[in-house]
């Protein structure tokens, strides 16, 4: 863009410190800005309305204190990015280092250093959920307790974040091109922080190269760059580099569980009890807050199972790390890991196959729709059948036979599986119960038949690489019979699209698809009337078919009707619907408790007990996403999600040292699975329509990422079973496998945590 300058940031090298002084060299005046320059800019505030929630204001630029490595201390402008980075290195900041909270359990301790001076501990929120019969003093034949951990991860879309902002003086408007999943929410956030009216801000998201939640947030960079663009009167661009993405921005998922499962001699679950901590980082991120993960954990930990006793206590803990953002399958991959690992322990304790134990416990199809122990409303499906199909597709008996024979090279074969369901497109009741400040509710779509008989669809959801343009065009085509290639789906621009909270929570196809369908049906009614007139028939004797209005052999197509409506309106009768060939319609599912897609993942793998390396031999997914609009896109979502899940299971980890320094600041240290690490994944589809949605569709965008960590950890534990070893932490690295084996061989447990049925 002509006149555009580049932005780089000076970022904190320390996890926790008081800023004593900041010195900006005189020659950088006017192109370096620090906190004291930000006149009238408010901090980012994402407050949950839940009782007891502690507020943390996230500074756009840190003023008196930094709370994680990578926090912004100065915004620096240059002619090129290198020039801006030169400036960033010349800002002199004097820090007084403070003790850091580098771990959530440490952060919960009474003597831990405090992140936020006004708080009396480091806990954003403690919550407690209980369901069914009491667990206090409850005894069961099988009672197993484990401490389990999932790692802090970094969402890694191919493209990082990026934005370009300028002030359009003609329109008195800030124009922001930003890589976001939620243009309208970013606009609201920018207006709150910058004190602007919404009409003064236009947020547009051109092609977005992957999001996964990393772009479902208002980031301090967005606020800072927008402020500076207005202040300086020049277009400014910031492109997140991979180090910023890893160290400062894309952090997610870090759970700790102490979990106890109760079962009878056949493995029928009698109760589940958990204490779960979430390492939420320094601030509550906008708009989902620091409570979305613990709220999710407490409400979905029971999984797809039916059992009578449940209690769960959660803590959302502030630490000296970047705020965690919701990553694809928000909290679910960790929850699924925790629960499914425990079910395998039950299976081992009662001497049954893991799938047999699950079949004892899964909600049965005749119970559907089913209100579970946390009052989740499972809409439809046949969970046991899904599992049976997985056992068959993976051919578990085949692997058991091979396992019995042993491997010639000394490696150990393991088979593992997981099954889960996934609430999607959930609405006000659920998000409201999590207390987040901006809830999804209704969804709008605008459709307009063009004078040549094509169609424009406008939506507020945001495609960030998942093919929404194709899927929504198919939906419109289904109703109006216009060929998909003649349909333009316009989205991602607050100037041109209806309001929407955006794309997350696997909501877009269900919600926007429903809205597009509803709006197209309105047009279809109007076309019938116009067509009937053009065919000189009455409305009762015409029908709509293949994009035409027909009566007997006579027909008039949409192009002809559109031409008449737009160009020759005098030919139409006086009582024609003056809404014409464009319509905006809203949509809400019949219940707003969401759809529940579900899936079973199964894996066979080899563990090298000497090096701890893992080779995946076969990976199968059986999924039910309701009626699929575009099976190829759904398969793509599952492949991509499963690849990410394999990363969660075996590779990805952002470790921190005790001083709060991140230890994986490049992709040489933050390992992502590549093509050689991801096997050919086999997918089997089931189809149970949702009773509550248009066409019976269900949200399916996240499931692929949920199942792999549990299935893979279970398979590794299955392989290590003969050695008496088990893994309890993600990712399952060679070192962790080695250490698990080492522990089991070097010391017999003093106190067995598994009580066998007497």
């Amino acid at each position: 863009m002509p006149g555009m300058l580049e932005v780089a940031f000076t970022r904190s090298p320390l996890a926790h410190a008081r800023i004593v002084a900041i010195e900006v060299p005189a020659d950088l005046a006017g192109r370096v800005f620090v906190a004291r320059d930000l006149d009238g800019v408010r901090s980012i505030r994402a407050s949950a309305t839940l009782p007891g929630f502690k507020v943390s204001d996230q500074p756009v630029i840190a003023s008196d204190r930094v709370r994680y490595v990578g926090e912004i201390v100065a915004l620096c402008i240059g002619n090129t990015r290198a020039d801006a980075e030169d400036a960033a290195t010349r800002v002199r900041v004097e820090y007084e280092e403070l003790p850091a909270v580098s771990d959530m359990l440490q952060g919960r301790a009474p003597d831990a250093p405090r992140l936020h001076p006004k708080w009396d501990d480091n806990v954003f929120l403690e919550s407690f959920v209980e369901g069914g019969a009491p667990l206090k003093h409850f005894e069961a034949p099988v009672r197993i307790t484990r401490e389990l951990r999932t790692q802090r991860q970094c969402m890694s879309p191919l493209e990082g974040k990026g934005l370009l902002a300028y002030w359009d003086t003609r329109r008195d408007q800030l124009v922001v091109l930003t890589s976001t999943q939620m243009p309208h929410v970013v606009r609201s956030g920018l207006c709150e922080c910058l004190g602007l009216e919404q009409r003064q801000v236009r947020v547009t998201a051109p092609d977005v190269g992957g999001g996964f939640g990393h772009k479902g947030v208002l980031s301090p960079e967005e606020v800072a760059v927008c402020w500076a663009a207005r202040k300086c009167g020049v277009p400014l661009r910031w492109l997140e580099d991979r180090r910023e993405q890893l160290v400062a921005n894309a952090n997610c998922r870090e759970h700790h569980y102490v979990i106890t499962i109760y079962a009878d001699e056949r493995g029928k679950m009698l109760g589940l009890e958990a204490e779960a901590s979430v390492d939420a980082g320094a601030y509550s991120a906008y708009p989902f807050t620091s409570c979305v993960e613990p709220s999710q954990i407490a409400s979905i930990l029971p999984g797809p199972y039916d059992f009578p006793r449940y209690r769960c206590r959660t803590w959302s803990v502030a630490t000296n790390k970047p705020p965690i953002l919701p990553y694809r399958g928000v909290a679910r991959s960790g929850v699924c890991f925790a629960l499914e690992v425990m079910l395998d322990h039950v299976a081992r304790a009662v001497g049954r196959e893991p799938y047999e134990v699950r079949l004892e416990n899964l909600v049965r199809p005749e119970q559907m729709p089913f209100n579970n122990i946390t009052n989740k409303h499972f809409d439809s499906g046949d969970y046991p059948e899904c599992l049976r199909q997985l056992v068959e597709a993976l051919d578990i008996p085949k692997w058991r036979k091979r396992q019995k024979n042993g491997e010639p090279d000394g490696r150990l074969l393991g088979v593992g599986l997981s099954i889960f369901n996934e609430q999607a497109a959930h609405g006000m009741s659920v998000y409201g119960s999590w207390g987040i400040p901006i809830l999804p509710g209704y969804e709008q779509a605008s459709v307009r038949i063009t004078p040549d008989g094509g169609l424009e669809v406008r939506c507020g959801i945001q495609s960030h690489g998942q093919g929404m343009e194709t899927s929504l065009a198919q939906v419109a085509s289904q109703i109006l019979g216009i060929a998909p290639e003649r349909i333009a789906v316009v989205h991602g621009d607050t100037d041109t699209s209806p309001y929407s909270v955006g794309t997350y929570g696997s909501r877009s196809l269900v919600m926007a698809g429903g809205a597009v369908s509803t709006a197209c049906k309105q047009l279809r009614e109007r076309l019938l009337k116009i067509g009937a007139h053009m065919l000189q028939s009455n409305i009762e004797s015409v029908r709509f078919e293949d994009g035409c209005v027909r009566t007997g052999e006579a027909m008039v197509d949409i192009a002809a009707m559109a031409n008449t409506w737009y160009h020759l309106p005098h030919e139409l009768p006086a009582d024609v619907d003056i809404g014409g060939l464009e319509a905006t319609a809203g949509y809400k599912t019949k219940r707003d408790s969401g759809t529940f897609s579900y899936a079973a993942h199964g894996v066979a793998l080899l563990v090298d007990p000497r090096t701890g390396s893992v080779e995946i031999l076969d990976y199968v997914v059986v999924e039910d996403g309701g009626v699929l609009v575009n099976p190829m896109i759904v398969d793509g979502q599952i492949y991509g999600g499963a690849a990410q899940g394999i990363g969660t299971a075996l590779y990805e980890e952002m470790p921190y040292d005790e001083s709060g320094q991140p230890l994986a600041s490049t992709l040489a240290d933050y390992l992502l699975p590549g093509p050689t690490e991801v096997p050919d994944i086999r997918i089997v589809h089931m189809e149970t329509p949702s009773p509550y949605t248009e066409f019976g569709v269900k949200g399916i965008g996240e499931g692929g990422a949920i199942g792999p960590p549990a299935a893979i950890a279970n398979a590794v534990n299955d392989a290590l079973r003969t050695l008496g070893a088990e893994v309890t932490r993600l990712p399952v690295t060679p070192r962790r496998i080695f250490e698990a084996i080492h522990r089991s061989t070097s010391a017999a447990r003093s106190e067995p945590s598994v009580q066998r049925p007497s």
Binding site: R81, T89, T611, Y651, T666, G674, P734, F738
Partner: protein, 275 residues
């Protein structure tokens, strides 16, 4: 992640390059740039001048004589993988070149650059040490030769004076009776190694070398390493001898010791299988 500004020179003769290095306080030689490029962008290095040596003919020179092959420092991994240069190693070098990082890296990365960068986890450092190759170093009109295992003096440290340039490596040919084996443990394909074991035994040259690489230090080369094996078939490794050796190196982390032991064992069994 953009580099700080730097000067750039692209000499076309060795002496010219050496002169630039002599006359510039903080110059850095740039060959394939596969490590230096990221280091520049991460601002881990901020040289005044980059001396791009890829236009110097001697550095892409390859020469085969009766008992050895000279490979210029700027010959790429891909050139070796694709067998565009004579092979002194009975397939060891082209076979293993294929396992270096990714093809995109191999297209630009060079043998000399890899040795001078001296990353302990890099392949050539271990492979060329095992092959008892010599580094040929040019400086101020003089040439000197240093065994590769002494050229790499520590992690990211090479025995180069500030005005010296690695001209290439001279690799003695293995005989028809030679056996070699190599095992590299990586978390994923193309990543940096966590352990490397290399075994080269050539009875005709009285050579039996074991290299323990990717230790975080320069590679450990054991000459006359027959005591690591039960017998000269190499089929069985004397793990006590290897562990004792690892102890002497100060490698006490149980997992790392295990990986290095396994790397030696598997390299040996591959060597045994080439018999």
């Amino acid at each position: 992640m953009k580099s700080a500004s730097f000067g750039y020179a692209r000499p076309v003769a060795l002496e010219e390059a050496s002169r630039i290095l002599r006359e510039t306080a903080d110059a850095k030689i740039f060959a394939g740039g596969q490590s230096l490029g990221p280091m520049l962008n991460l601002r881990l290095v901020r040289p005044d001048v980059i001396v791009d040596v890829t236009a110097i003919p001697e550095l892409v020179h390859v020469e085969e004589t009766e008992d050895q092959v000279f490979i210029g420092a700027c010959v790429t991994h891909a050139n070796i993988e694709d067998r565009y240069v004579p092979d002194p190693s009975r397939q060891m070098m082209p076979t293993l070149a294929k396992g270096i990082a990714y093809r995109a890296v191999r297209n630009r990365g060079t043998v000399g650059g890899s040795l001078c960068h001296a990353d302990p986890a890099a392949d050539w450092v271990s492979i060329l040490s095992a092959l008892s190759a010599q580094a040929v170093i040019y400086g101020a009109g003089q040439r000197r030769r240093v065994p590769v295992e002494r050229f790499v003096t520590g992690p990211f440290e090479a025995a180069l004076a500030s005005d010296e340039i690695l001209e290439g490596v001279s690799i003695p040919k293995l005989s028809a009776r030679a056996r070699w084996g190599y095992y590299k443990f990586c978390r994923k394909t193309g990543e940096f190694a966590d352990a490397i074991g290399a075994v080269v035994c050539d009875p005709d040259r009285d050579l039996c070398r074991v290299v323990i690489g990717a230790t975080g230090s320069s590679p450990f080369v054991v000459e006359n390493a027959l005591h690591f094996f039960r017998d000269d078939t190499l089929t069985e490794v004397n793990s006590d001898a290897v562990l004792t050796f690892l102890d002497s190196l100060g490698l006490h982390d149980a997992f790392e010791r295990q990986l290095h032991l396994v790397a030696v064992e598997r390299a040996a069994s591959r060597a045994a299988a080439t018999a």
